[in-house]
């Protein structure tokens, strides 16, 4: 695959204050400089730039570029983690402002590693990517009992649920947890995604899940697609 290029957001000049440039922020997120990302994000806030514009024009481009490189195996976990940390530093400043403006999240996503499994590096990358894509993500951590998924989904009126598992000896609980949602009468209210090294589309189908995320990029693409599909409303 050829080297992905930085996609400049169309029309960013007209949305930025006169003489403003985002390029240092694009570079900072791309290179994982979280300190500069926070500084420059704060400067943009102080200059009165709309928080949604800061997110779309300032923070996303560098991160999306790294996401594409990660998917194409040009960069690896350490590079992705530092870019995600920088993105998080910027988001931390932006999120309260977005909430104050009553910007609604794209969807509510409850994620966790299933019972018996302690691996979290994959699902934490997916979490950050989903947050960047505008989802409100509730991460339940690792070794999550099905009842805790159900509790969180009900409390947060979740749109999507994600089950991660890294071991062939724990993927079983992906199936069990899907089944528990069905038994609780909640299966129609949520879309369920699964992921993790030993999983596959066949396994997702066998579990009765709605989708399988081969990697973090695919998980976000699927989440965007599934959140648009009709579901039973939460009471």
């Amino acid at each position: 695959m050829s080297e992905p290029e930085l996609k400049l957001p169309v029309g960013w000049e007209s949305r930025a204050p006169a003489g403003w440039s985002w390029s240092s922020l694009w570079d900072a997120v791309e290179n994982g400089n979280h300190k500069f990302t926070a500084t420059r994000t704060q400067e943009a806030i102080d200059a009165g730039v709309d928080p949604k514009v800061i997110l779309d024009d300032g923070l996303f481009p560098g991160f999306d570029l790294q996401g594409m490189r990660f998917s194409a195996q040009m960069i690896f976990i350490p590079e992705m983690l530092v870019a995600a940390r920088a993105m998080k530093a910027g988001l931390a400043l932006i999120r309260p402002l977005l909430a104050a403006k009553a910007e609604k999240p794209v969807g509510v996503f409850v994620i966790g590693t299933v019972l018996g499994d302690m691996h979290d590096i994959g699902q934490s990358i997916v979490t950050i990517m989903l947050e960047n894509a505008g989802f409100r993500v509730i991460n339940l951590g690792t070794d999550v009992h099905p009842s805790r998924f159900i509790e969180a989904a009900t409390k947060e009126r979740a749109d999507l649920i994600g089950f991660s598992a890294l071991l062939s000896t724990t993927v079983y609980y992906q199936k069990v947890t899907v089944e528990e949602f069905r038994k609780a009468g909640l299966r129609g209210k949520v879309k369920i995604l699964i992921g993790g090294a030993p999983t596959s589309q066949e396994w997702a189908t066998e579990c009765g899940a709605d989708g399988w995320g081969k990697d973090a990029i695919e998980a976000v693409r699927l989440a965007r697609e599934l959140v648009a599909q009709p579901r039973e409303a939460w009471a």
Binding site: L81, V82, I121
Partner: protein
């Protein structure tokens, strides 16, 4: 060809010489081992440092493999839910899952265990407390003793008892990058500190290199035929860290370890293992003079076995390649037979290959699949006969 002794067969395979049939190596974790052993009426089923090879030899293993190092204790012992157990590196391990949490959950757990069929869930122990969190921690850290007789003594015993007939492998388990991220430092911190605290990471890796050089050297002195260095740097679809970062952080340190082993015995065989896809560094393994590479997980990035064999097979021997993620635990008997046939057809021709599943056999594998595996390996693993003719 006349039937070779297991140790001859294994050695000749490593040297790409002609052999009668494929050498094999099966490894099992405790739950799987006791399950399979019951079928054979074998009651000595120790794993880890209490390893008893009776069952493995019955299954046809040509090598005896004894594990020491950072993984050897925690993954083979019982840890209660809620307990934190510390090993000789000061890493704390816990257990996840249902087993033993409440009486009601114990009943739920029991339903997931089946003797003839697969155990649907296998309790696993996980590192959860990491001893090095700062430069001060590193400065004050006391590395374990590489001359510890408790760890080393069984090697002598295994060499004396089995060394005449079988090939003796001492497995140092996770030895470098993996020992760093999974155990000593913690995964997220390890990868972030590659950027933030490169000196701290270098210090941890230097300490590990020193320890494992000496530990392995002791094993060589005691008569081991092969030192197995394990270092998981592959994720399912790609490497975890870039090949460039691996070449900076791991390669020179591995070279130091291997040089140390070879300074004691220039003919010592070296195996380097990584889970997942590590194909970008296979040429580096060859450059380091690694004799055996594997266990070749075929479900992600290492799928193209024929191509890997054609490209690297004459410069390095390979082991593994049979899918343990999907086919062995969840396939039908016929799927297992077909997978064994394909793996042997891909990697066996021309020699330089040791047949093995791509990792431990866990208790999630049904007994009939283990049977199918052994039967197919015997049917398809003879040189001069289809598919190795």
């Amino acid at each position: 060809m006349k039937e070779l002794l297991p140790r001859e067969r294994f050695t000749r395979a490593l040297r790409h010489e002609k052999i009668d049939r494929l050498p094999v190596m099966y490894r099992m974790k405790a739950e799987a081992k006791s399950k399979i052993a019951r079928v054979f009426g074998i009651d000595k089923t120790g794993t880890g440092r209490a390893h008893d090879p009776s069952l493995e030899l019955r299954l046809g293993n040509d090598a005896i493999i004894y594990q020491i190092g950072i993984n050897a204790d925690f993954s083979h012992r019982h840890i209660e839910i809620g307990e934190t157990w510390f090993n000789h590196f000061g890493v704390g391990y816990g257990k996840s899952g249902l087993q033993g949490r409440t009486a009601a959950e114990a009943i739920e757990f029991a339903k997931t265990q089946e003797f003839w069929g697969p155990a649907k869930v296998v309790p696993e122990n996980f590192p959860k407390q990491h001893p090095i969190k700062s430069k001060e921690d590193l400065a004050n850290y006391k590395w374990p003793d590489p001359n510890d007789p408790v760890i080393l003594a069984p090697i002598k015993d295994l060499v004396e008892r089995y060394g005449k007939d079988y090939f003796i492998i001492v497995d140092l388990s996770s030895s470098l990058i993996e020992a760093g991220y999974a155990h000593v430092v913690g995964t997220q911190n390890f990868f972030l500190w590659m950027y933030d605290e490169p000196e701290l990471i270098a210090g941890v890796l230097d300490g590990l290199t020193e320890y494992y050089s000496k530990l392995g050297a002791n094993a060589v002195k005691m008569g081991a035929d092969m030192i197995r260095v394990g270092d998981d740097v592959g994720a399912q679809q790609a490497m975890m860290l870039s090949p460039k970062a691996w070449r900076e952080l791991a390669k020179p340190r591995l070279k130091h370890m291997f040089d140390t082993y070879r300074s004691i015995n220039p003919d010592i065989f070296i195996k380097l293992h990584s889970c997942g896809d590590y194909s970008p560094i296979l040429p580096d393994e060859i450059e380091l003079g690694v004799d055996l590479s594997g266990l070749m997980q075929p479900t992600g990035g290492l799928k193209d076995q024929k191509n890997i064999k054609a490209k690297y097979g004459s410069d390095i021997a390979l082991i593994g390649g049979l899918d343990v993620q999907r086919i062995l635990p969840r396939g039908q008997v016929e799927d297992v037979r077909k997978a064994v046939f394909e793996t042997i057809s891909n990697l066996g021709p021309g020699g330089g290959y040791i047949f093995s599943p791509s990792h431990y056999i866990l208790a999630d594998v049904p007994i009939q699949n283990i049977w199918a595996l052994i039967e197919a390996q015997r049917d398809f693993g003879t040189y001069g006969k289809f598919p190795l003719n």
